[in-house]
């Protein structure tokens, strides 16, 4: 049987597709664009943690202590650390978009530098927030 598209049933022809993400070399602006969307999606569900904490504080001491303990476990801390990074990264990425909205910083090399800055900045700020939280309170 011929593999030619010409012999296939009408209306079932595979339509040509324009080149998509996979054909391009990954650039930092591309990676940060994807990360911006992923962090946004993660933060969406992260609101569940915020509300859980508020509900726990509004319930009673026993339940609050249980939730506090859960957030304080190794897995809990990893999730909260990831949440902090997602929040800061999405914020910096958002500020980058707001700058672009004014039509500045869009030149290729400038855009790449700002993209790197959001990544380095978000990791640095997240680590600083956690160090500050730990040393200010001494409650690791």
């Amino acid at each position: 049987m011929s593999q030619s598209t010409a012999t296939q049933a009408p209306g079932k022809k595979a339509r040509p597709l324009s080149p998509h993400l996979s054909v391009y070399k990954m650039t930092i602006t591309m990676a940060m664009s994807i990360v911006h969307r992923i962090t946004g999606g993660a933060l969406y569900f992260g609101t569940l943690l915020v509300v859980w904490w508020l509900i726990a504080a509004a319930t009673d001491a026993q339940y609050f202590d249980f939730v506090s303990w859960l957030f304080g476990t190794l897995i809990g801390r990893l999730v909260l650390f990831g949440y902090t990074w997602a929040l800061i990264h999405h914020m910096l990425g958002g500020i980058r978009h707001l700058i672009w909205d004014t039509a500045t910083g869009m030149e290729k090399h400038t855009a790449s530098k700002i993209a790197w800055a959001t990544l380095i900045g978000s990791v640095t700020i997240t680590v600083l927030i956690w160090l500050f939280a730990i040393f200010a309170r001494g409650a690791m």
């Binding site: 969307r37 933060l43 915020v50 504080a57 958002g94």
Partner: protein, 127 residues
Amino acid sequence: MRDMTTPLKKVLGYGSAHEGTDHFWKQRVSAIANVPLTLFFVGLVVALNGASYEETRAALANPFVGLLLGLTLFAVLYHMRLGMQSIIEDYLHNEGVKLLALMLNTFFTILIGASALYALIKLTLGA
């Protein structure tokens, strides 16, 4: 090709989706609001790291904290609903699935918002 757009359509600038830049603009306004509000939220959580039940309740019962936290949640939820709407519209191509997801997006946002509001009111009134 002759421009078939009527002068009224041009002035309104709503385009084919009849929304114009509505979504874009709301996304940006809430994004700007989110910057200071989120920084406040991070500061609050850092300050309450390791705090006891009583300390946490006392902090959350403070009118300024409660009000700012309420505003933060409102701006964040507003922003994230718009963002998730874009994700849904980009990736879900089945009309039925898309409509269902868009509805669930609204329901989720309202559920989170109502729960947070309930907790905040309860904490503020000290009940």
